[in-house]
């Protein structure tokens, strides 16, 4: 490992953390409030900065300077550890997400991705499964009835939908024959019958629906936000984290998890950084034919692919907000029924059907 390589790694990590904080945390926070306001015919934040653009900054500063109340019944250590686990989980899951293809700069292959692991998708699942601890421990630590119930509900819900989520991607893995996220994206490049991109959603539509539903449940978003059903549980497992950056951590983690989920959906089902029918090499040679040098051709390509990825991700982030104001909340027994009696058998059926079709063809 040479020093330049190490520098590139650190630069990538900084980039991803910045994306996590700004694109996911900041922009999404503001966008959610603005879109929500629009859908409810309100104005939304409009006092801090032009058009309320600095509102999240004001919120962060406020959260930092608020009193950190540790209730006298709380389990002190876990009260501090739980939000740390949440933040760590959210940030670490970004590690394997590829935002662009591998391009050559000064003879060095580079992609905007921290680590290209051969267990790619499983890494995200493994890290995401830590989120259960954050929920159940913060519910436990607060030692309040609301937060405890919220934590329990949330963790039981997360593990229930994790099964369906894991099963739903099996079909994708069977078709693209790899766990590596880059290979899965590359596998989606051919065109079926000359016009339809071989995206995951085309070859595995049922898996997409199951995965999307499970993703909403995993990120604890409406219609599955049972753990913070505000009419029943105040704020669920964050009830006792009423102030300070601990609450900020939960908030930030939720947005970053939304970003990660959207990115995984885009990678598995919507071709990741790909523009349908155009390969990376074709884009590079297009820029070279316009008279750009090799370095700039690679640079433009990487920026273009970054833009494509972000556009696709942004659509799903918007979907998260859109659904929030469209679909009413589930009841808890309905939620568990949907997970165990609905999605689970559907996902298994999907695997067997995919297998059968692939054997016959």
């Amino acid at each position: 490992m040479d020093w330049i390589g190490l520098g590139i790694i650190v630069a990538k990590i900084v980039f991803f953390l910045l994306v996590g904080f700004t694109a996911a945390g900041y922009v999404m926070n503001l966008a959610e409030r603005k879109i929500s306001a629009f859908m409810q015919d309100r104005l939304g934040p409009n006092r801090v900065g032009f058009w309320g653009l600095l509102q999240p900054v004001a919120d962060i500063i406020k959260l930092f300077f608020k009193e950190d109340v540790v209730t006298d019944r709380a389990s002190k250590v876990i009260y501090f550890v739980a939000p740390m686990i949440i933040a760590f989980t959210a940030l670490s899951a970004l590690a394997v997400i590829p935002l662009t293809d591998v391009l050559t700069f000064f003879g060095r292959g580079m992609a905007i991705q921290i680590a290209n692991l051969n267990v790619g998708i499983l890494f995200i699942f493994a890290i995401a499964s830590l989120g259960t601890y954050g929920a159940v421990l913060s519910g436990w630590a607060g030692n309040s009835k609301y937060s405890f119930l919220g934590g329990l509900r949330s963790s039981a819900q997360m593990i229930s939908y994790e099964v369906s989520m894991g099963l739903s991607i099996i079909g994708i893995l069977m078709i693209f024959e790899s766990l590596r996220l880059n290979d899965i994206i590359l596998g989606q490049s051919p065109l079926l019958w000359g016009f339809l991109p071989k995206w995951g959603i085309v070859v595995q539509p049922l898996a997409f629906i199951i995965f999307l539903t499970a993703a909403f449940a995993e990120t604890n978003r409406v219609p599955f936000d049972l753990q913070e059903a505000d009419a029943e549980l105040v704020a669920g497992f964050h009830t006792e984290f009423s102030n300070s950056m601990k609450f900020g951590m939960f908030f930030m983690a939720e947005y970053i998890n939304m970003f990660t989920s959207s990115a995984v959906i885009v990678i598995l089902f919507f071709g990741g950084w790909q523009i349908p029918g155009i390969s990376t090499a074709e884009i590079v040679s297009f820029f070279i034919s316009l008279g750009a040098s090799e370095f700039f051709a690679s640079l433009f390509t990487i920026l273009l692919q970054l833009g494509v990825t972000f556009a696709k991700i942004a659509f799903f982030m918007f979907l998260f907000v859109w659904v929030r104001w469209t679909i009413p909340r589930f009841r808890y027994d309905q939620l568990m029924n949907l997970g165990w009696k609905g999605l689970l058998p559907l996902a298994i059926l999907n695997i067997l059907a995919t297998g059968l079709v692939m054997v016959i063809i």
Binding site: A115, Y146, S160, V359
Partner: protein
């Protein structure tokens, strides 16, 4: 081989430092004016009643147990899925038997009403 995992290690270290740092930092930044009322757990404004550390329903245990079983089932499927094309019909029959045996359990669990949330 290890080079692939070095970035992960660095990322983990940075993330741990960040998570711990922010929480500790913000803990010392705010004012401290506590009173007995402020330090009591939130219970919609009335004084908290009884203990929170009650024994909770066994349903949650059951869900966690079923989750482990299905999680391990999925784990077996990952290596199968990535080489499915090479295994062909043989692989399909293998997995069919595996899923079939587990489906017996699933139907049993369903019939026993363990999946029903009361």
């Amino acid at each position: 081989m290890l080079n692939e995992y070095l970035p992960i290690l660095i990322l983990f270290i940075i993330n741990i430092a960040f998570a711990v740092g922010i929480i500790i930092f913000s803990h010392f930044l705010g004012p401290r004016k506590s009173s007995a009322e402020k330090l009591s757990p939130y219970e919609s404004g009335v004084p908290p009643v009884g203990d929170t550390r009650i024994r909770f329903s066994v349903k949650f245990y059951l869900i966690a147990m079923l989750f482990i079983v299905f999680d391990i089932e999925v784990v077996f499927m990952y290596p199968w899925a990535v080489i499915f094309k090479k295994l062909g019909l043989f692989g399909f029959v293998e997995m069919f038997v595996f899923i079939g045996i587990l489906l017996i359990g699933y139907v049993y669990v369903w019939k026993k009403g363990a999946l029903k949330w009361e």
